[in-house]
Symmetry: C2
Subunit: 314 residues, 2 copies
């Protein structure tokens, strides 16, 4: 009997569920709007029915080994989602416990960036690595840290929030209530803020001078950079410089073998991945120089969070 896992990626917009075999093949998958289920029990009931449907579609003779979930504010120790601002259920919800009313297998919950980290470790470029860092560049900046071959959860399950380390003291206002957090610079929203700062400080011509803040996307900035727009190119360079410096700082704690970048921005290999490596290298303590690779995730373009969530049960 072939063993498979279910991976669930809970996002503010959509919930994606996949049935995954041991070779990282998604045998069946589906996605539905998270916001359609304001009552948590109904959401869990729908998840459970969906998994059963997907299992029968995925093939015959499959045995469900376990269910892994990546969710914003997911707590590995408690199996809960705690006060996630972008999800319909505002209080702490007992996700693992509720799902286990429908299934007898193991249910594991963690946050979305940690699920992606597990995905990279089990199926991606970090196979066999014992010490590495995963950085997900989305709307914000998520991170997962692996040391001695284990994901670091910390005392309370909330370790690995490097997006909220301070990049520039008294810098940009962050959603967390503080100022200068790394994710206010290095993320899809961060690079947009950099563009508007540069439009103000520099005199370069740019087509972005005619686009309102609300409308511009990081994909637009990428396209303008590829066309040679100087503001867009400077914005990428500044983003890579801040990220490179903060990765050099992170190295003093972890001395990782590699740092993987995931997310839309990481697709810009020559504009983000390579300059981040360059700036990190320039700022490293001498003992670490030439040892740490900055790499695009090997799972770019896949649903790494579904894969990683599924791998959680291993």
């Amino acid at each position: 009997m072939q063993q498979v896992s279910a991976g669930i990626d809970i996002g503010g917009t959509n919930t994606a569920i996949g049935i995954v075999d041991d070779n990282a093949n998604i045998l069946a998958e589906i996605s539905f709007p998270t916001s359609g289920y304001p009552v948590f029990e109904e959401y869990v009931s729908n998840i459970s029915n969906t998994i059963k449907d997907l299992l029968s579609k995925a093939g015959s003779g499959l045995e469900l080994r376990g269910i892994g979930v990546g969710a914003p504010n997911g707590n590995y120790y408690e199996g809960t989602i705690e006060k996630a601002p972008n999800l319909p259920w505002k209080d702490t919800v007992y996700l693992a416990r509720e799902i286990q009313k429908y299934f007898s297998c193991k249910v594991v919950v963690t946050n979305d960036a940690k699920a992606a980290t597990i995905g990279e470790m089990v199926y991606g470029g970090a196979k066999g690595m014992k010490n590495f860092v995963m950085i997900t560049l989305g709307t914000g900046l998520g991170s997962g840290i692996v040391a001695n071959g284990q994901l670091i959860y910390g005392a309370d399950g909330f370790a690995g929030e490097y997006g909220h380390s301070i990049a520039i003291e008294n810098g940009r206002q962050c959603g967390c209530g503080r100022r200068g957090c790394l994710e206010t610079y290095c993320s899809a929203s961060g690079i947009k803020r950099t563009v508007y700062e540069l439009l103000a400080s520099e005199r370069d011509e740019s087509k972005m001078r005619s686009i309102p803040f609300e409308t511009l996307t990081s994909k637009d900035i990428y396209d303008f950079a590829k066309q040679g727009d100087k503001i867009a190119l400077k914005a990428f360079d500044f983003t890579a410089e801040i990220l490179g410096k903060k990765l050099a700082d992170l190295a003093t704690i972890l001395s990782p073998e590699a740092v993987f970048l995931f997310g839309g921005l990481a697709l810009a290999k020559d504009l983000i991945v390579e300059p981040t490596q360059k700036y990190m290298e320039q700022n490293l303590l001498p003992v670490y120089r030439g040892k740490i690779k900055v790499l695009p995730s090997a799972l770019l373009g896949t649903n790494i969070a579904v894969l990683g969530a599924a791998a959680l049960v291993h």
Copy 2:
């Protein structure tokens, strides 16, 4: 037969060796000048004879379980000391391998701050903790990081150099060749540099205005602070502020249960430990607030490096 361990703390000035039982009692110990042995093989020969002497002095019927060594630039993976600037042997020396020519038991090498971290975990205030940070405030700032119950060595054995994370961009010149490293602010030498910066920037009267830079010690600064010297008090406050902010940053990676401070400066509980806790708290990401304790090492005043080195063999 009672099992004991030998702990060796190799410093630029002195080498301390102790025979330690499982209850952290040092049964016999001795210290000799490191610089007296420019030929490495003679140094190892002396260490080995000293351990044998100490064993016979410590009691009868003792069995040596293993030998642990804490040394600057000690590499856990290789059992080597690599290019330590303050030791007589400038190249890489194969310490574990050389000692094993004299003993059949296990020999483990690590750096001095990591040995102290193991000491705190096995014998001190971190007993039973799975996630904590050790900060040693000496001439420089050493650190050891424990996550998931394990000391983090990183890919190359050199993880845990938080003294060389950047506290202030383009700040004070550091011995590592870069600028702004945490240890240029938070250490015995760092607080002295702060005093002279304050003597320049502030107009407060201070007895330290008559003391040359070369002469002043961190102990003097402590004594002046206790007498109410405003410059000395401001220097301690600034030191705690920088350290507190950097510990808040560290929390985003590790979410530790506690941070232990060791070293001469950490004896100044009300001047360093408590204000560091305050400044850390003010700068923490909300999810970590009220969860992380800043504590003086429970082994202040002991030779924690000898104890920790001995505990390495467990």
